[in-house]
Symmetry: C2
Subunit: 105 residues, 2 copies
DNA sequence: GCAGACTAGTTTGTAATACAAACCATAAAG
DNA sequence: CTTTATGGTTTGTATTACAAACTAGTCTGC
């Protein structure tokens, strides 16, 4: 029993954090997004968002590009291939674990 | 967009921790379980398991009963009604968020 | 009967974390 | 030139997960 459950212990902690899960879910649907868009979508504080993005970048899950929109700075974020893989692995693991709750013979 | 995603931010952090999610998932299937059984199933260290159970008890999700098996102490754990509710809410929220990944119009 | 080993846990110390408040740099407005 | 807004980063703090060390009682060998 509980083979799927033990998989929970192996969940990617980078993705597991709700704030970051939101971010990668959003990024998985949009190809690219700027800082303020992400902030509006997630409701995170700037500092918090910055920290999470940095962590996602360090993990290689997100590529961050600093450009300019006119004269203002603009940071653009994209999910990398590794990020997509990590997300789909996470979903698979989570669905498996949550799915195996009851009634499965 | 991303109404379900924002729900991630509201996930119950007590349940969200993988170690504790394992515990409540297990307890949701067995009616009751003793400390060592839980340790074997989860592979957690004793200290860690004890801490998580204490936290689950403090949250009112698990009822802990200290009895004796012959002469040895024996702690028995049960999921409470609140615990079951919390788990099912968590699953609902997570499934909704993870399900809304792509292609949903 | 007492030294050692085992059972069943709890307490303690620590390194990592999430988060927001404070800060920095630039630019337009009054 | 002071204020207000944009687009972020750095710093401080309080929580945390986790394992190592400890406690408390039991059984075995001698």
């Amino acid at each position: 029993m509980s083979k799927d459950l033990r998989g929970l212990a192996a969940l990617d902690r980078i993705i597991h954090e709700p704030a970051r899960l939101m971010l990668v879910m959003i990024l998985s649907t949009v190809e690219s997004a700027d800082f303020l868009f992400l902030q509006r979508e997630t409701q995170l504080s700037k500092g918090n968002l910055s920290a999470h993005l940095t962590k996602l970048e360090a993990a290689g899950y997100v590529k961050i590009e600093k450009t300019f929109k006119g004269k203002y700075p603009l940071t653009i974020c994209r999910l990398t291939a590794a990020g997509k893989r990590a997300l789909s692995d996470y979903r698979a693991g989570m669905n498996k674990a949550l799915g195996s709750g009851k009634g499965r013979p």
